[in-house]
C-alpha cells in the first residue's frame, strides 16, 4: 500500500483509497498472495496485449478453454490472429478449425501469422468441426487450437455442448490453449476464461469530400469469466495496421 500511495501520476491522483484499491485489483495490478502463487506456476501463452496479459496473470492459460465472444465485427478474428502471430513467432504449432472457410491467409500473413505453423482444417459442418478439434487436440503438441464457431451459414445446426467436457480434458492433457470464437458463450462452465469483445468506433480517416479510409478498429476486451483470476476490464486494444490501405487506390 505504501508503494501505491507513494507513487506519482494517475494512481496517486486517486482520492478514495477504496476506489483506488478496487480499480487496481480490477486491472490486475494488485493481486493476492494466492493469485500470485497460482500465476507463478501456471503456464500461459502471452497474447501480446500487455494490459490484458497483466489482468490474466501473464496470458492465456495453457491446457484450458478460452472463449472469445462478441458480435459481428467486434474484433474476434483480429484478436485470434494476434494470438496466432504471437504463438507462431515463438515457434509453436497452431491449428485453426474453420467450418465457415473464412480464413484470409494473405491478410493473416500480413498481420504476422506464420502460415507454415498453422494447420488449417475446413470441415463443412459444425459437428465435424468439433470432431476435428478433438482429433487435433488428441495429437498433442499444438500451442493453440482455434475453433471458429462464428459460422454465418450454419446457425441452425445443433450445438455441440456434449463435447465440451471431452475437449476440455483433451486440452488439459496436451497443455493446449483451446480458443473458441463465437457470437455467444458456448462452452459454459468448461471455459476457464471468457473474453467479451466489443467494437468501439471504427477509425475512418479522410477529409470531408474525399474518399474515406477504414484504418483501424478500436476493440474493448472484457474478462467475462475467469477461473484462474477474476473478471475485469475492459481493456482497449487497437486492431489494424497503421500502414493503412496497402495497395489500394481511390478511384
Amino acid at each position: 500500500m505504501e508503494a501505491v500511495n507513494g507513487s506519482k501520476g494517475p494512481v496517486a491522483a486517486e482520492r478514495d483509497p477504496q476506489a483506488l484499491l478496487a480499480r487496481l485489483r480490477r486491472e490486475g495490478v494488485l493481486r493476492t498472495a494466492l493469485e500470485v502463487g497460482a500465476y507463478g506456476t501456471r503456464p500461459v501463452l502471452p497474447t501480446g496485449v500487455e494490459s490484458l496479459d497483466r489482468m490474466l496473470g501473464g496470458g492465456l492459460p495453457r491446457g484450458r478453454i478460452v472463449e472469445l465472444v462478441g458480435p459481428l465485427s467486434s474484433g474476434r478474428t483480429a484478436f485470434l490472429w494476434q494470438v496466432l502471430a504471437v504463438a507462431t513467432a515463438r515457434g509453436e504449432q497452431t491449428a485453426l478449425i474453420d467450418p465457415a472457410d473464412a480464413f484470409d491467409a494473405a491478410a493473416a500473413a500480413a498481420a504476422g501469422v506464420a502460415l507454415e505453423r498453422v494447420l488449417w482444417v475446413r470441415p463443412g459442418r459444425r459437428r465435424d468441426a468439433f470432431r476435428a478439434a478433438d482429433l487435433v487436440l488428441d495429437a498433442g503438441g499444438f500451442g493453440v487450437v482455434a475453433l471458429d464457431l462464428t459460422d454465418l451459414r450454419s446457425g441452425g445446426e445443433a450445438r455441440g455442448w456434449v463435447l465440451w467436457p471431452r475437449l476440455s480434458m483433451r486440452a488439459e492433457r496436451s497443455a493446449t490453449v483451446l480458443l473458441v470464437l463465437s457470437e455467444r458463450r458456448e462452452a459454459g462452465t468448461f471455459a476457464a476464461i471468457a473474453l467479451g469483445l466489443r467494437r468501439g468506433s471504427p477509425d475512418w480517416v479522410g477529409a470531408a469530400g474525399s474518399p474515406l479510409l477504414l484504418e483501424r478498429l478500436d476493440v474493448r476486451i472484457e474478462i467475462l469469466r475467469s477461473k484462474v483470476g477474476r473478471p475485469g476490464g475492459p481493456v482497449r486494444w487497437t486492431s489494424g495496421s497503421s500502414e493503412g490501405k496497402h495497395g489500394r487506390h481511390a478511384a
Binding site: 491478410a107 500480413a110 482444417v121 463443412g124 487435433v136 503438441g141 484504418e215 495497395g247
Partner: protein
C-alpha cells in the same frame, strides 16, 4: 559332430516361385532362392520335431502346396546340392543320360531311384528324405548327367568311364580338380556328400504381403477389422524384422461378387503403429464400405525407414510426427484431403485488407444502392452508416477468367463492417467479407 554334419537342408522344386516362397517361409525363416529360381532351399534344422520327424516335415510341405492348389517336390538332405538332386530326380523322374549345362538332354531314361533300401532314404508321394550322413549313398546311383556338365566335361567323364555319381565320388579330389577345374571339384564333392556350400538366406521380398482367405464372407466392419488386424500385425512384424516400418499400406479386399476393392494408405510419415493403421482403415471402410461381402483380403506393406527426429533446444516441441501423420489422415478422412493442410497466401496481387477479414466463400450476392444493403442473411442487411470506395481492382486479364471489381467498405447501422464489391462486367453486387 561338426557343423556340416548337423546341416539339414530341404529343397522345394516347383513352378510358382512366389507361392513356393510363401510356403517355405511358413516353415523356416532361413530360405534361399537359387539363381535360376528353380529351387528354394530351407534350413530345416530343428524344424522336424514340429512334424514328428523329417518325413513328416517333407509330407507337410507337399500337403501345404497341395492345399493351395499346386504341386511341389521336396528333398531333404545334408547339403543344398544333394537336397536338390533328390528333389529333382527322386522318384519317377526322367534323369538325363548326357547333356550340357544349358540343359540340352541328348537322351533320357528312367532314372534309378535313390537308394531307399537299408535306411538311406525315406520317400513318399512327392518327397525324398536322405538320412543324416547318407548323402553319398543316396545319390550314388544317379547318372552324372544330373549335374548338367558341359559338353566337354561330359565327354571327358564318358572317356573315363564315369557314369554315376558314385563312380565320380570315388575319384581322387585333387586329380579331378587338376583335370576338370573348380566345377569338377564341386561335382565330385557333391557326389561324395562333401558339399559345404552355405545356405545364404534370400532377403525378404521388398513388399511383404499377407493374405487371408475367409471361410464365410464378412459383411460387418468389426469382424473384418479383427481379421485385418492379424494380417497387418504379421506384415508389421516382417517389416520390423528388417528394421523397416510402414511407408504405405495397400489393402485388397476380395468380394463375394468376384470383384476386388483396393484401398491404400500413405501416411505423411512412416508408421509402425498397427493400431493407428487399423484406425485409418476403419475410417476408410466406414466412410465407403465395400460393395459386397468380403471373402478374403491381402495386406501389402510398402517398407520405409523409420525416421528419427531431433528436438530443438530452443523451440517448443510440436506434435510427434507419427502421431501427426495419423491425425492428418483422420482429418482427411473426416473432411476431405483438400480441406486439411497449411494455408498458402494466393500467388496474386490482391489488396490486403487493413483489418482482419472473414471471407465469405463464395461471396454472398447482395443489392446495394449506396444507402442500404440487402442480402439473404438477416445479419448482413440494413442501412449504411458510412461507406467508402470504390477501390478498383482488375486482374486475371492474362487468364481465361479476367475480373474487374469495384470494392467498397460499408458500416451498417447494426454494427457490421463489410467489404462489398461490384462485378463491373455484370454490375452484380456481392459481400466479399466481414471485417472482424
Amino acid at each position: 559332430m561338426n557343423d556340416r554334419a548337423c546341416r539339414r537342408i530341404a529343397c522345394l522344386i516347383g513352378e510358382d516361385l512366389p507361392a513356393r516362397l510363401e510356403l517355405a517361409r511358413a516353415f523356416s525363416p532361413w530360405v534361399e532362392v537359387s539363381a535360376d529360381g528353380a529351387a528354394i532351399w530351407l534350413d530345416v534344422r530343428g524344424c522336424a520335431a514340429l512334424h514328428h520327424d523329417e518325413e513328416g516335415l517333407a509330407a507337410a510341405l507337399v500337403a501345404g502346396a497341395r492345399r493351395a492348389g499346386w504341386t511341389v517336390r521336396v528333398g531333404i538332405a545334408g547339403s543344398k546340392g544333394v537336397a536338390r538332386l533328390v528333389a529333382e530326380w527322386g522318384r519317377g523322374r526322367d534323369a538325363p543320360e548326357g547333356g550340357d549345362e544349358r540343359g540340352s538332354i541328348s537322351a533320357r531314361k528312367q532314372a534309378p531311384e535313390p537308394a531307399t533300401a537299408g535306411g538311406v532314404c525315406g520317400a513318399g508321394e512327392g518327397w525324398v528324405v536322405v538320412r543324416p550322413g547318407r548323402d553319398r549313398e543316396a545319390v550314388a546311383g544317379l547318372p552324372v548327367a544330373v549335374l548338367r556338365p558341359s559338353r566337354e566335361a561330359a565327354e571327358t567323364l564318358r572317356r573315363w568311364g564315369i557314369r554315376t555319381l558314385g563312380q565320380l565320388a570315388a575319384l581322387p579330389r585333387a586329380e579331378v580338380a587338376l583335370r576338370l577345374g573348380a566345377a569338377g571339384t564341386r561335382w565330385r564333392d557333391l557326389a561324395a556328400g562333401d558339399d559345404d556350400e552355405p545356405l545364404v538366406p534370400t532377403p525378404q521380398p521388398d513388399e511383404p504381403e499377407e493374405q487371408v482367405a475367409l471361410e464365410d464372407p464378412l459383411s460387418e466392419v468389426e469382424p473384418l477389422l479383427f481379421v485385418l488386424r492379424g494380417a497387418i500385425d504379421r506384415v508389421a512384424a516382417r517389416l520390423a524384422a528388417r528394421g523397416a516400418v510402414f511407408g504405405a499400406v495397400v489393402l485388397r479386399l476380395r468380394l463375394e461378387s468376384g470383384a476386388t476393392d483396393d484401398r491404400s494408405l500413405a501416411p505423411a510419415v512412416p508408421l509402425r503403429d498397427v493400431a493407428a493403421i487399423l484406425a485409418l482403415f476403419r475410417v476408410s471402410i466406414e466412410s465407403s464400405p465395400p460393395a459386397a461381402a468380403v471373402t478374403g483380403l491381402t495386406v501389402r506393406g510398402i517398407p520405409a525407414a523409420a525416421r528419427s527426429f531431433q528436438l530443438s533446444l530452443f523451440e517448443p516441441a510440436g506434435p510427434a510426427p507419427q502421431q501427426l501423420a495419423v491425425t492428418l489422415a483422420r482429418l482427411a478422412a473426416l473432411v476431405g484431403c483438400e480441406r486439411v493442410g497449411t494455408p498458402l497466401a494466393p500467388d496474386a496481387h490482391r489488396s490486403a485488407a487493413p483489418l482482419a477479414l472473414r471471407l465469405l466463400r463464395p461471396p454472398l450476392a447482395a443489392r446495394w444502392d449506396g444507402r442500404r444493403l440487402e442480402t439473404d442473411d438477416p445479419r448482413l442487411r440494413g442501412a449504411a452508416v458510412r461507406a467508402s470506395g470504390p477501390w478498383k481492382l482488375r486482374g486475371g486479364w492474362w487468364s481465361e477468367r479476367p475480373f474487374e471489381r469495384d470494392y467498397y467498405d460499408v458500416e451498417l447501422s447494426g454494427g457490421a463492417l463489410l467489404r462489398l464489391f461490384r462485378d463491373v462486367s455484370t454490375a452484380a453486387w456481392f459481400v466479399d467479407g466481414i471485417y472482424d
